[in-house]
Amino acid sequence: MGKPTDLVQGTLDVLILKTIELEPMHGWGIAQRIRQISDEVLQVNQGALYPALHRLEQQAWIRSQWGESDNNRRAKYYSLTREGEMYLREQQAQWSRLSGAINLVLETT
């Protein structure tokens, strides 16, 4: 079934959480936003996006709600829960620590 590795999976989770931090978004929007913000560097594999969303919802980090999209279609909007916010903050802190450390190593040697 070709599951993504833990690192990639974990990263996608954080990206999704970060993306919907400000406002509720639907799956399509999340994929677009990640691509735009990362200057087209990160291409979200759409096949992996929805399982990830469903998993995050199962974990109770995000919740979903049906709403109207910009062009008046019914879409499923995802937003962060309190637990999700806490988890995101934790993950962000960990990510900065990790990337800072990697940068440090790469720059000094």
């Binding site: 799956g27 759409q46 929805y50 399982p51 199962q58 062009n71 499923k76």
Partner: protein, 895 residues
């Protein structure tokens, strides 16, 4: 709190699957539409945009499946699927299923039954009593070494003044409950019946949370004033049987032990008092103690310890905290009342450790039985495990195909475990039914005459939880190994023919052989234990209690209940003894207050021995019995020096006593004490004889100081009558009934039995129950192990027809094949026996306390167990071996 969010999601995944699936469809549809819109906006033609969007999303069905997987739908789906499939497989193989369910039902049922006994007799022994978990037992202890008056477990009762001090000074307790079992004889319809009653503190019913069905419980005032409050609460049973459920019962009177009592309440149905083993039929307040409990008025005497009490802890208080507080109070009492409380402390115990009721007897019996039934469960599980493995072989084809089409090993294990779970769930239902039928079984084993024993198992939610746990554990035990084995199928290997290999040497056969070895060794341990207990019981039966039990009859007379006063009773006893002695065939007869080996406790008291200086921490105390003239001759206890009591030792004569050997050794350094004196209460007793040691309460007791006083000098209205005669008990019973009827038409003696019978009933009860239970379970284990061995051997033989055919074709004779198969089975047995013997050597020590004069390593027990095991193994292997010799070489080689 995350589960609060998760739960509805999980439930939705489970029960509103369709809606969830529709939503998923809609969500993906929206995504596609948005992508198409974008492509069209970039200038793609509509049709092309559709295709491109589908391509960029990827395989839709797989995404959906993954989403479902994420929502854990699949787990349940698979489970339901496995369940259906499992049922189909079980129905298709009825003989296998019935066999497996039978084995497991026996195993699980035995466990559920024993646990329901433990629940109903030890953990929550008092049905209808609220919050039994906060109840503790008050047991006295005495640090004074050597001559403590304590029961086998080392505990004493509590005195009423001490009890009041605990009640007044302990703050961590909700209530203190005094309780002492006693008995009386009442007439129910036209028969006289012995019933148990309790002397209790006034708060008894309130503190236990039991509300009388009619009337009320006792009031605080009922506790004071010597015999001033003749009131009683009667049991539901008594109300129904004796008073025919009279709704106007309150205020009526009932004579109890010769005293008119006013009935003030009726206990609710299902409340049997607070004594494990006997249903209590009436309760009276402590102020009535003197009427029911021999030994005079004890409520003002701190040295008289007779209360078997309970206490209820305040919510949240641990038994350790409460213990600390109670011990502090006990220390204060000890300092304040040196004369009576030297070395006296109090110990709080959980209900199941109660040292003074049936729990004492039940605890060792039930804990050992629990271990035993667990072993039986293990054996049953390994049998089912074996069956499953045989079936896994038969299903190899199916399993191989499943693997070939891509089933993961984990999925396969899940499937096989589900099948196991079906088996054990069916068995647990059967097992609980079995436990329900067996809940009165202990009472049957413990049957005594007169009062019906009350030993009832209880099936409540804890038993259900326990059984569910046993069910899960056993599923893992019996299904995991076969499931793992099945999952290990090597596709290439399974294509090869199985029948080509050598007898008894295949990998899977090895796992099954190991199971058989385990079964044999477990079974061996049980057999050794059963034989040890049987031997021990035989030794007890033939051991010497210090008196001659043959041609000795015993019966009892309750003159208290018949309303006699002391003068009339003495007159009656004198005439009775004279008449009995003159009966033809009667050698001698004597009265006594207490019959040896009975629940009635001997009197006990602090003694002060002239010329003996006790150690600072020592408080000389001894038990004694009140006996009539001719007692020693009748009982067959020899006197080492001095004389028996005679009619001359009457109430007006100087007080005398006969002491036992141990007492002589302890207080007179073994010198002949005839003519010496000791003080009991306020009387100085002169020693007139020394009696040989005897057993007084049980075979297991260690020698203790004991003495006898004349019945006339310490009178009791309730007495037993021992008769030495060579005549048959039934003949004597007839004569006796006639004599008593002549003397008083309203009086009947209790059942006339031989002393042996009496001892079998009282002292050997738990031994007999243990022997019965272990024999049942040992036999069951032997049967299961034999079935297991038979299964393995006959399967091995059926798989090796080709080899046997070849051997025969090469000239092997039938005896050779017979030997080959038998020796294989016997090797397995031998390994099992060696392992079993080793574990038995370690394990049987655990119940050494139950064994009487027999080493837990007794070679005879091991030998007999070995014999039984080998014989049944031979029997189990014989048929498979015989079948091996019937192999037709031509057919076997052709196939």
């Amino acid at each position: 709190m995350r589960w609060l969010h998760k739960l509805p999601l999980r439930l939705r995944s489970l029960f509103r699957k369709q809606q969830a699936d529709q939503e998923l469809d809609a969500e993906l549809q929206f995504h596609l539409q948005a992508q198409i819109d974008e492509y069209i906006a970039k200038g793609m033609p509509v049709e092309e945009a559709r295709h491109a969007a589908l391509r960029s999303l990827g395989p839709v069905t797989q995404i959906k499946e993954e989403c479902r997987e994420m929502r854990r739908v699949n787990f349940f789906d698979n489970f339901v699927q496995d369940l259906r499939f499992g049922f189909r497989m079980l129905v298709r193989n009825p003989s296998f299923s019935v066999m497996a369910v039978l084995c497991l039902t026996l195993g699980i049922g035995a466990n559920a039954a024993v646990f329901s006994w433990i629940e109903g007799l030890l953990l929550r022994p008092f049905p209808a009593v609220a919050h039994q978990e906060t109840l503790v037992v008050l047991a006295g202890t005495n640090r004074a070494s050597g001559d403590k008056v304590a029961n086998a477990a080392g505990y004493t009762a509590t005195s009423w003044p001490d009890f009041l001090d605990f009640r007044a000074n302990c703050k961590l307790f909700d209530s203190f409950i005094a309780d002492k079992i006693m008995g009386t004889t009442i007439s129910i319809g036209d028969r006289a019946e012995r019933v148990a009653g309790s002397v209790v503190s006034a708060n008894y019913f309130d503190a236990l949370g039991v509300h009388p069905l009619l009337g009320r419980g006792f009031q605080t005032a009922d506790e004071t004033g010597r015999s001033a409050h003749p009131v009683t609460v009667i049991s539901y049973w008594m109300w129904k049987e004796r008073y025919h459920s009279d709704p106007e019962i309150i205020g009526k009177t009932q004579i109890l032990n010769g005293v008119q009592h006013t009935i003030i309440g009726v206990a609710p149905e299902g409340f049997y008092g607070t004594f494990v083993g006997w249903p209590i039929q009436f309760w009276v307040p402590v102020s009535m103690q003197e009427v029911f409990e021999p030994g005079g008025y004890k409520l003002e005497d701190r040295s008289q310890r007779w209360i078997e009490g309970f206490a209820r802890l305040k919510p949240g208080v641990t038994i350790e905290q409460a213990q600390e507080e109670a011990s502090t109070v006990a220390k204060r009492l000890e300092a304040q009342y040196r004369a009576t409380n030297r070395g006296q402390d109090i110990k709080l115990l959980p209900l199941w450790k109660a040292p003074f009721n049936g729990a004492t007897e039940m605890l060792p019996v039930l804990s050992i039985t629990l271990v035993v039934v667990f072993v039986v469960l293990l054996i049953a599980c390994s049998n089912v495990s074996n069956l499953l493995m045989v079936r896994a072989f038969a299903r190899q084809h199916e399993i191989t195909i499943r693997m070939a089409v891509g089933a993961r090993q984990g999925r396969l294990v899940q499937q096989l475990l589900t099948e196991g779970l079906i088996l054990s769930t069916i068995s647990v239902v059967g097992g609980l039914a079995m436990a329900y039928w067996c809940r009165n079984l202990l009472a049957v084993f413990f049957a005594t005459s007169g009062v019906e024993a009350h030993l009832k198992g209880q099936i409540d939610w804890r038993v259900l939880v326990f059984s569910a746990g046993v069910c899960l554990i056993s599923t893992l035990m019996f299904a995991l190994v076969p499931a793992m084995q099945a999952g290990k199928v090597d596709l290439a290997d399974s294509l090869k023919s199985e029948s080509g290999s050598v007898f008894g040497a295949r990998g899977k056969a090895r796992v099954r052989s190991i199971l058989v070895v385990v079964q044999v060794s477990l079974c061996f341990v049980l057999l050794v234990s059963a034989v040890l207990l049987i031997q021990s019981m035989q030794r007890i039966r033939s051991s010497d209690p210090g008196f001659r039990t043959e041609s000795l009859l015993t019966t009892g007379l309750d003159l208290v209940a018949a309303g006699y006063d002391e003068t009339r009773a003495k007159d009656f006893q004198t005439r009775l003894i004279d008449r009995v002695r003159s009966l033809p065939g009667v050698e001698s007869a004597a009265l006594a207050r207490v019959r040896p080996f009975s629940y009635t406790t001997y009197s006990s008291g602090l003694i002060n021995v002239e010329g003996y200086q006790p150690r600072p921490d020592e408080q000389p105390e001894a038990e004694y019995n009140q006996i009539g003239p001719d007692y020693f001759r009748t009982m067959g206890i020899s006197l080492l020096s001095g004389r028996e009591f005679t009619d001359a030792d009457s109430e007006t004569a100087p007080p005398v006593a006969i002491v036992n050997e141990k007492m002589v050794k302890q207080y007179w350094r073994g010198e002949d004490p005839i003519g010496k004196r000791f003080q009991l209460k306020d009387k100085w007793l002169r020693i007139v004889g020394v009696a040989r040691m005897a057993k007084y309460g049980s075979f297991g007791e260690s020698p203790k100081p004991f003495f006898y006083v004349p019945l006339r000098q310490d009178f009791s209205l309730r007495a037993i009558l021992n008769i030495r005669t060579s005549k048959d008990p039934t003949l004597i019973a007839g004569d006796l009934a006639r004599i008593i009827h002549d003397l008083d038409a309203n009086l009947a003696p209790t059942e006339v039995i031989t002393m042996r019978q009496h001892m079998n009933r009282s002292a050997l009860r738990s031994q007999q129950v243990m022997v019965a239970l272990l024999s049942i379970f040992g036999g069951l284990a032997l049967l299961l192990a034999a079935v297991g061995l038979y299964g393995v051997m006959s399967y091995a033989v059926s798989q090796s027809t080709r080899e046997f055919g070849l051997r025969m074709a090469l000239g092997a004779r039938q005896t050779h094949l017979m030997k080959l198969v038998l020796s294989h089975g016997l090797v397995l047995t031998a390994i099992g026996v060696v392992l079993g013997a080793t574990s038995a050597l370690l394990l049987t020590r655990l119940f050494a306390t139950l064994l009487y004069k027999i080493s837990p390593r007794d070679p005879l027990a091991f030998g007999l167990a070995f014999l039984a095991m080998t014989t049944s193994s031979l029997a189990a292997c014989f048929f498979p071996a015989w079948r091996a010799t019937r192999t037709d070489p031509v057919r076997a080689l052709k196939d």
